[in-house]
Amino acid sequence: MISVKSLRVDYDTVTAVEDLDLEVGPGEVFGLLGPNGAGKTSTIKAIARAIEPTYGEIRIDGVDPDVHPEEAWRRIGYMPDLPPLYPDLTVRQYLDVFAAAHLVARPGRSDRVREWAARVDLEKKLDTRVSELSRGMKQRLVLAKTLLPEPKALLLDEPASGMDPIARVEMRRLLHEAAANGAAVVISSHILSELDELCTAVGVMEKGRMVVSGSIADIRRRLETGVRLRVRPAGATPAEAVAAFLEGNPLVSGPAVAAGQCLAEFHGTEDQAAELLSALAASGLTVAEFALEHESLESLFMRVGARETS
């Protein structure tokens, strides 16, 4: 649905995006991660053709935006990072203006406006001026404007910034719904945990390049050197005994005792972890807590970014 090959975007003397490839199919949600200045916004703008790439090929549902821009834009819903708004319009008027811009037919346009205002929980604010809305409400309003034409390709730049937790949950639901209806979604965010729940695949950008991409599970598998194992003994079982037991296991490395717990690196699967727990119990060591702790996405991506930068 969204296909990008060898994309490059230049601003004056700065190359914002370089040699970027991206494929997002119908129903997929792709998350773009990276620090400020990594090139996420430029990538999204280039796909939306709000800016023109220097090199590269982009296809939206098979349509080349350079050749048939209007056809491509019929398929695109674009939401920039800072919500552009007309402060003096009401919510109803704002949605009406952009519904017209996306060729939503006049008969039924006002119903559509009302429907989408309700879906982002702004129905009661339909006649409120945009300037009187909170930051999160404004963000939801722009989201409604983006989803209202029911585009096949959704390009969302930091859509959750400023939203409260309830609104975020609602946004996730709406995006899942759009994806379920066959839309391809590209979303950039700094909130990694949010992408974890929302995306079918993610890509990490650093200095204009995509340094790693794939499904989150796949990236974990590729990048994680190990999972941290934490065992808290129960009753009279000393943590040292647990450490001594783990010492002899080939799937465990570096067991150490800290604050009455035993911490180690575990290199096996979840099934193997279950077998290890059984073995611990069979050896007579009582365990109050046995946990496999994955490295957080945040630290994982920070590590990737740092490695690529260095």
Partner: protein, 507 residues
């Protein structure tokens, strides 16, 4: 896709929603009605009531169409830039022309509706006070045309700024000052060179309305009014189209065939067209006195100092070339984008008037237009263009051509950093180095990249108010030096372009 109806035009809808809010929507009609009452009730200085009413309607229409409506168009356009909503329209499937129409129409419609109502009062009143119906109608049409041009111009300027709240007001002031400054400057030159440009201001029609009694006696007919309106339309239309294209470009992003370079060539043609002397009285009744002309004391063309024509033409040429150089010299990335588009369209290179094409052909085209226009003015006998002036003019063109090509090389080679280097070069070569050497001949000769050096040193040619050059050895040397520098820059540029092309087409 054709134009959508205004009810489906997002820009118009936005304008409509913003401009019909209560109570703002009634401000202007109420103020106009109050002013009308005051005008009619307060005893005038002896004039008949029809004159007062006609003057009031005409004045308020001018105020609405020439001041308030453009201010509103500027405000709306500036808000698009300020709020960052342009990206939304750029990524919307509606054809761009709809945005342009909607932006202007949505911003100015209250003033235009009110003006239309006043015109309905003005026309019968004007007829009642003796103004011929065709002249009254022509006056209204003239105001409407100038109003449309002013609104488009202010909107264009506002869309090209990154300013905030006060931008539209500042822009309006700048434009008004610029307009009247141009009036003053060109008005001063008019004594020497009365040209067609005055018709773009609509003043001949206003003069005709003021002098209607005298004109009527001399047989001023509907045909004459029509010619005046057509001349004004002819002079304003290119400027209106220029504004249209620039607003279109803002909503659309750069697309070729609407390029700045094409505009530069068209502006060059237009600028020289404006300079055609209005000596032919083809539109005037034969026996009509000159009172209603713009300059009753205007001397006849035969006695005008012809050198001034050459100086004005040289100044226009220099401005056009410098303008083309500044707006039409793309950076590496822009050229690469143009080449990418050309490759997609199955072409071997960028169209030479595309924004993304290197500037050499565009500069040559503008230079060619300037030379041709000069030649045409000379052949038609409007301008006594002496060989000395021609030589000075040629030197000016060559020098600016070299500078433009050199600037393009710098842009391609170093981008934004290059622009700064270029400015340093200009300051160093033209100011610092001559100052260090105390403007001595030797010192000036030490500046090898200063193309005028040989000319200044060898011939002592004044290049200020009276551009002319004697055919001395120094002048020939200056000609050769400028031509050689322009050729060298063109060769470097060609190589830079070839490398870029290989990069894009090889990719």
């Amino acid at each position: 896709m054709k134009l959508v109806s205004l009810q489906d035009n997002p820009q118009f809808l936005k304008g409509f929603y913003l401009r019909t809010r209560f109570p703002e929507v009634i401000f202007e009609p109420v103020l106009v009605a109050l002013a009308l009452v005051v005008f009619l009730v307060v005893p005038s200085s002896g004039g008949p009531v029809w004159s007062v009413l006609a003057a009031f309607c005409g004045g308020v229409m001018a105020l609405l169409l020439l001041l308030l409506a453009p201010a509103m168009a500027g405000r709306m356009a500036a808000a698009e830039v300020r709020e960052g909503t342009l990206d939304f329209y750029r990524a919307a499937p509606l054809y761009t022309r709809n945005h342009v129409v909607g932006l202007i129409a949505g911003a100015v419609f209250p003033e235009w509706v009110l003006s239309a109502a006043l015109a309905l009062v003005f026309l019968p009143v004007a007829c009642a006070m003796g103004i011929p119906w065709h002249l009254a109608l022509a006056f209204v049409a003239s105001l409407a045309m100038t109003g449309a041009l002013a609104a488009a111009a202010v909107a264009t300027a506002a869309l090209h700024t990154r300013e905030n709240q006060g931008s539209s007001l500042r822009l309006l002031v700048i434009l008004a000052v610029g307009f009247w400054l141009a009036f003053a400057l060109l008005g001063a030159a008019r004594a020497y060179f009365q040209s067609l440009w005055v018709f773009m201001t609509g003043i001949p029609l206003v003069n005709a309305v003021i002098q209607h009694a005298a004109l009527d006696r001399e047989g001023f007919s509907a045909g004459h009014s029509l010619v005046l309106v057509m001349l004004q339309a002819g002079m304003q239309l290119p400027l209106f189209l220029l504004c249209w294209v620039n607003i279109w470009r803002v909503f659309r992003g750069p697309r070729w065939y609407n390029s700045r370079k094409l505009q530069a060539v068209l502006v060059a043609v237009y600028a020289f067209f404006c300079m055609i002397p209005d000596d032919a009285s083809f539109w005037r009744p034969k026996s009509v006195p000159l009172e209603y002309r713009n300059s009753p004391d205007r001397p006849s063309l035969a006695h005008e100092p012809q050198e001034a024509a050459g100086v004005i033409a040289s100044g226009v040429t220099a401005l056009l070339l410098i303008g083309t150089m500044l707006v039409g010299s793309p950076e590496t990335a822009q050229v690469a984008r143009g080449l990418r588009r050309a490759r997609k369209a199955g072409k071997r290179g960028v169209s030479w008037l595309d924004d993304c094409a290197v500037s050499a052909p565009a500069m040559l085209a503008v230079t060619g237009v300037c030379l041709l226009a000069q030649g045409a003015l000379y052949i038609a006998g409007f301008s006594e263009f002496t060989p000395q002036m021609a030589l000075g003019f040629l030197l000016l063109c060559l020098n600016l051509l070299f500078l433009a090509l050199f600037y393009q090389c710098v842009q391609i080679g170093w981008g934004a950093r290059g622009r700064k280097l270029f400015m340093f070069y200009i300051i160093a070569a033209w100011v610092v180095l001559p100052m260090i050497t105390r403007f001595s001949a030797t010192g000036l000769l030490l500046s090898p990249w200063l193309p005028f050096t040989v000319l200044i040193v060898g011939a002592g040619v004044p290049l200020g108010t009276d551009l002319a050059a004697e055919a001395t050895a120094a002048t020939v040397a200056a000609l050769v030096l400028n031509a050689a520098l322009a050729c060298a820059a063109a060769v470097v540029l060609r190589n830079q372009y070839r490398r870029l092309k290989e990069q894009v087409f090889g990719a």
